[in-house]
């Protein structure tokens, strides 16, 4: 790990994150107004183009490179803070949310993915506007009644992938235990007169991973003994160095791989035959009952990596039992532990899919801006790079992600006290390679179809 003092300087600055918050807030207001009152067209609406062709594709990459710093400058969080300052009751987060938060977040992420596809939120400005209004309403509600950023911690549907991906990220925040030992007031958690405490209820000395830290810098500003450390680390290192097995995180990583796969598949020509075949199987019209057919397909796509992980966990546990005669090696534990190994592949799939949208669509952002001011640029493409460059780039990202996943699985198996680490991680390695092959196949099909 390398100490990153320049990041700490940024975090300590009074301008951070407030300046960026106001910029994102301004952008959010523009996007919301355009989504509700602008042209109902993803390519002609500047706000839509900005959200779906730039912000959304860049989001997973930002978690890898900058941790959850987006969460620190998120306009919803900013608004929530303002509401809290004005009328906030500051009740503690409900027990139900604290217990089931990760599951709620995962369920909401799947729900939003489903609704997005079925109602075409990403291609319909009004639907995007309504989605933003809904999240805004929730943010206002949680900001008004509950303390700190309860919404971000336990409800925000991006929170799950943000937590997983930032664990694979390169930025780490922690505290020097020696300096914290004598601290009685804990201003990093409780806040000081000038700066509030940690918005997501974290105590830096006890911080075990980067999944929840928003890198808002409050603890850095509050800590007088300067005990907070911000460092750069190898990508994915946290996944094996401080594994914290969470069934929900493992499940979400597997599900995201399925979601990315279905999003890729929906771009293929074989998507319509697949829809029709599913409709025939269910004895219904695929297009009339599209929400149902898509629901079945989405469930299937999500179930495949999930079942694969269960099977790999089962086989891996069998190996552990036979090698170490450890009868207590449980499948669920193995599932949760090695589920972390899926995170780099899930992240790579997400980044690769985002890359496609970013590189082949986001050139429409300046066009949409010109259209907004009634200056049409004439005939021009929305792509920055041709498909022949974009798809190989996607494949490279996927291979890198899968390589990292296999490495994480190997490192995780080395933590177990078994004679052969390779044997333990072999089932997971096979699963990862199978998932990589499926992803590469989808991308290569797209490449051949769009040539």
């Amino acid at each position: 790990m390398i100490e990153a003092s320049w990041i700490k300087t940024v975090l300590r600055s009074r301008m951070y994150p407030s300046l960026l918050q106001w910029i994102t807030m301004g952008a959010f207001v523009l996007v919301l107004v355009l989504a509700l009152f602008g042209p109902n067209n993803a390519g002609q609406n500047f706000g839509m183009a900005l959200v779906w062709f730039v912000w959304w594709p860049l989001m997973p990459l930002s978690f890898l490179l900058a941790g959850r710093s987006w969460c620190a400058v998120c306009p919803f969080a900013c608004l929530m803070d303002r509401v809290q300052q004005g009328v906030g009751v500051r009740l503690p987060a409900p027990l139900f949310l604290r217990r089931h938060g990760p599951w709620i977040i995962a369920a909401l992420f799947i729900l939003v993915t489903y609704v997005d596809e079925v109602w075409g939120i990403h291609s319909n400005a009004r639907s995007t506007g309504y989605l933003l209004l809904m999240v805004l309403a929730l943010a206002v509600f949680f900001g008004a009644f509950f303390e700190r950023r309860t919404f971000c911690r336990y409800v925000c549907f991006i929170g799950g992938i943000a937590a997983n991906y930032s664990r694979a990220g390169v930025i780490q925040l922690g505290a020097e235990q020696d300096r914290c030992r004598d601290c009685v007031t804990q201003p990093c958690y409780h806040g000081s007169q000038n700066t509030p405490g940690c918005p997501v209820f974290l105590l830096p000395p006890g911080l075990q991973d980067s999944s929840m830290c928003h890198l808002c810098g409050n603890c850095v500003k509050n800590c007088e003994p300067d005990a907070i450390r911000v460092s750069l680390r190898r990508p994915t290192a946290e996944l094996w160095e401080s594994p914290r097995p969470h069934v929900s995180a493992a499940m979400l990583a597997a599900v995201v791989i399925g979601i990315v796969m279905i999003e890729q598949s929906a771009l293929l020509r074989s998507w319509s035959p697949l829809l029709e075949a599913t409709g025939r199987l269910l004895h219904i019209d695929s297009y009339v009952y599209y929400p149902l057919v898509y629901g079945v397909l989405l469930t299937t796509f999500m179930a495949v990596p999930l079942i694969g992980l269960v099977l790999a966990g089962f086989l891996s546990s069998l190996v552990i039992r036979s090698l170490s005669r450890n009868a207590r090696a449980r499948v669920l534990e193995n599932f949760a532990t090695f589920g972390s190994a899926l995170i780099p592949l899930a992240l790579a799939g997400h980044v690769a899919h985002g890359l496609y949208h970013l590189l082949t669509r986001s050139r429409s952002v300046p066009f949409a801006f010109l259209a907004m001011i009634s200056r049409f640029p004439g005939s021009a493409g929305a792509a920055w790079l041709p498909n022949s460059v974009v798809f190989p780039a996607e494949m490279t990202v996927l291979v890198l992600g899968a390589g990292s996943s296999v490495y994480v699985a190997y490192r995780l198996s080395r933590r177990l006290t078994v004679p052969s680490s390779w044997a333990v991680c072999l089932p997971h390695g096979v699963l990862l390679l199978a998932l990589l092959a499926a992803n590469l196949y989808a991308v290569s099909m797209m490449l051949s179809e769009m040539r």
């Binding site: 042209p39 067209n41 993803a42 390519g43 009328v87 998507w271 004439g378």
Partner: protein, 188 residues
């Protein structure tokens, strides 16, 4: 048969004169060549999701032409899935993406005309694009292009009102609750 041939010849004589006639706030667009006239009645703006009636009339010497060969009015809708996904603004005309994923594969790039009277062709088109589109009417070699503004649906008043009521209720309730819980009321 003879009549059909004559009409066919008359149509062949109808060559595009001015190309596309882009009439702002169009009601009726026409292409005239000799004694042959191709006219389209299109609303100035059509609204996404609403059924719109587009009328194409073919007249010769001011009279509706009878027994006209089949006409096609082609709108630049979606030819393939790539076109659906392509949101490239082209010459100020943005094809956009269909709002309803369910109808994507069923998108048509041609609208067949239905003859409802001598020389009168009515096109019922349920637009599934947003932004400005060109409707291209073709009849035996003559083409009439009519740009149409596809108006975007205004946001649902119900949703906006519900949102406003919800936010107002939350803020008022929280404000009252806070005053009751902390008589001082100051933010910490």
């Amino acid at each position: 048969m003879k009549g059909t041939k004559a009409v066919g010849k008359a149509f062949v004589a109808c060559i595009l004169v001015g190309g596309a006639l882009a009439l702002a706030g169009a009601g009726r667009s026409t292409v005239l060549n000799g004694d042959c006239q191709l006219a389209a009645q299109v609303p100035a703006a059509v609204r996404k999701g609403h059924v719109t009636t587009l009328i194409l009339q073919i007249r010769q010497n001011g009279r509706p032409v009878d027994h006209a060969p089949a006409c096609l009015a082609t709108a630049p809708l979606f030819v393939s899935l790539e076109d659906v996904l392509d949101t490239t603004p082209a010459g100020g005309v943005d094809l956009g993406s269909g709002s309803d994923s369910a109808v994507r594969p069923a998108c048509t790039n041609a609208i067949a005309g239905t003859q409802s009277g001598p020389g009168l062709y009515v096109f019922n088109w349920e637009p599934d694009t947003a932004g400005r589109v060109n409707l291209i009417f073709s009849a035996a070699g003559s083409t009439l292009t009519v740009p149409v503004d596809v108006g975007s649906e205004p946001p649902s008043t119900t949703i906006l009102v519900l949102f406003a009521i919800f936010v107002a209720t939350v803020l008022i309730t929280a404000g009252c609750l806070r005053r009751r819980l902390r008589p001082g009321g100051a933010a910490s």
